[in-house]
Amino acid sequence: MTDPRNSARKGPRTLVTSLPQILLLAVFILLVAGCAQAQSPSSAEKEQPSKQPQKQTSEKSSEPAASESGSAAGESEAGGKLEHPTLGDADAPVVMTNYSDYQ
């Protein structure tokens, strides 16, 4: 026969301890789900290739600046318009623009 004191003790104890556990579990699940979403890129981001061509990155690193070198410079710019080839200091007081044909 079941001791009514035990059943009375068991019933409320189970209910009281399980509610906080359920709430904690829910909070934990929400936190984990939130972190996972923040860390993983969307599928669209995963599939999208880099828009920056590799070539242009390497050009920039090897390109001497006209104002720094004072010699052969004015080479390519990464992306956009290709600059005019230049020789010499960017701050030189005299600028000679040379329009030429190779033939």
């Binding site: 070539k55 005019h84 200091d89 005299v94 329009y99 044909d101 033939q103």
Partner: protein, 140 residues
């Protein structure tokens, strides 16, 4: 002139393409700007003049330009891609349009701080104009 004025910081030379003598002029201009994409414009520019061609006689055929690219140590696959790229074509076209807007009738044409010299010049002429331009720049 380069050692005397460019390396001393007095003069900057800016290149403009004005390929008005036909397809091979255009080919050469495109090739040099493709070399520019690999940081070797001036090396390629010098090779073009060292192997100068005239009258669209095949000297600046695509094959010969590729050989010059090899001599310049360029990445050939990249060179060929850039040679046909819109970016390089746009650069050459923009220079050509600029020359036309200025009403230039021939090459070479040099504009030194606003003073125009048409045709090949002696070193003395360049020296006079550069030194005069430098004086004006420092006084004004």
């Amino acid at each position: 002139m380069i050692s005397k004025y460019v390396e001393s910081g007095t003069l900057r030379i800016e290149w403009r393409d004005f390929p008005y003598q036909g397809q091979e002029s255009v080919n050469a201009a495109l090739a040099a700007r493709a070399a520019q994409e690999q940081g070797k414009f001036w090396e390629y520019h010098d090779l073009l003049y060292d192997n100068q061609s005239s009258g669209n006689s095949g000297g600046y055929s695509e094959e010969n330009l590729r050989i010059l690219a090899e001599k310049a140590g360029l990445d050939i696959e990249q060179f060929e891609e850039d040679f046909k790229s819109d970016r390089v074509a746009a650069a050459v076209n923009a220079d050509f349009a600029e020359a036309q807007e200025r009403g230039l009738a021939g090459t070479p044409t040099f504009i030194i701080n606003g003073q125009t010299l048409v045709g090949f010049q002696t070193l003395e002429v360049f020296e006079d104009v550069i030194e005069e331009a430098e004086k004006e720049a420092s006084s004004g």
